[in-house]
């Protein structure tokens, strides 16, 4: 388990959660797990959180 500190500007997407324990073993999986932990309503992942975590291509 690793503890992730959510950057302050992103906490509006994480219900003000500052720290989160994740099971992921890689950076990629950690970021993926974050978007699943804080989904947006009916969607499985949070699109706004994704937007700020991933570089657009």
């Amino acid at each position: 388990m690793a503890t992730v500190i959510i950057p302050t500007p992103l906490r509006k997407f994480t219900n003000n959660t500052a720290r989160l324990q994740v099971k992921a073993g890689t950076i990629h999986d950690t970021v993926q797990e974050l978007t699943v932990n804080f989904p947006d309503g009916r969607k499985r992942q949070h699109p706004l959180l994704r937007k700020h975590l991933y570089r657009q291509r």
């Binding site: 500190i5 950057p7 302050t8 500007p9 509006k12």
Partner: protein
């Protein structure tokens, strides 16, 4: 609006003067009220990690950014934003500042024209990712 008392203001100005003609930078910690009013309680000075010319640019290392987030959690403060200086330039954010800015953070700019001509302004990104000036309230301890 953001409340910057005389002690905090002096810390920001001292860093800007000590670092002149390079840009200084650091973090602002404090509290945010329900109405959005921000009160700066303390600052953390960090190195300008920009490689090369530091007179027109600043950069904060990822490690310093992590330290600042941890510092805020340790003190039960909110990481309110980032300050930097504009040596010989007004306290107006550049396009480079805007592109590097994050939502939510207050960006305080300390303009140092010379040691007697100093100006502070604070800026926040709006929903369209454009900077809007955030009113600074000076508070003098008596």
């Amino acid at each position: 609006m953001i409340i910057i008392d005389s002690r905090i203001r002096q810390l920001l100005v001292d860093d800007a003067l000590n670092t002149f003609p390079d840009e200084c930078c650091g973090f602002l910690f404090g509290r945010e009220e329900r109405d959005g009013t921000r009160l700066v309680i303390d600052i953390l000075v960090v190195d300008n990690s920009k490689a090369g010319d530091k007179t027109r640019r600043f950069e904060i290392s990822p490690l310093d950014y992590m330290t600042a987030e941890q510092h805020a959690l340790d003190h039960d403060w909110t990481l309110l934003g980032i300050y930097h200086s504009h040596p010989k330039h007004p306290a107006i954010p550049s396009e480079h500042d805007r592109k590097a800015a994050q939502p939510y953070f207050s960006y305080v700019i300390v303009s140092v024209m010379d040691k007697d001509t100093i100006d502070l302004k604070s800026w926040l990104l709006n929903e369209q990712s454009q900077f809007e000036e955030e009113k600074i309230i000076d508070y003098q301890f008596t």
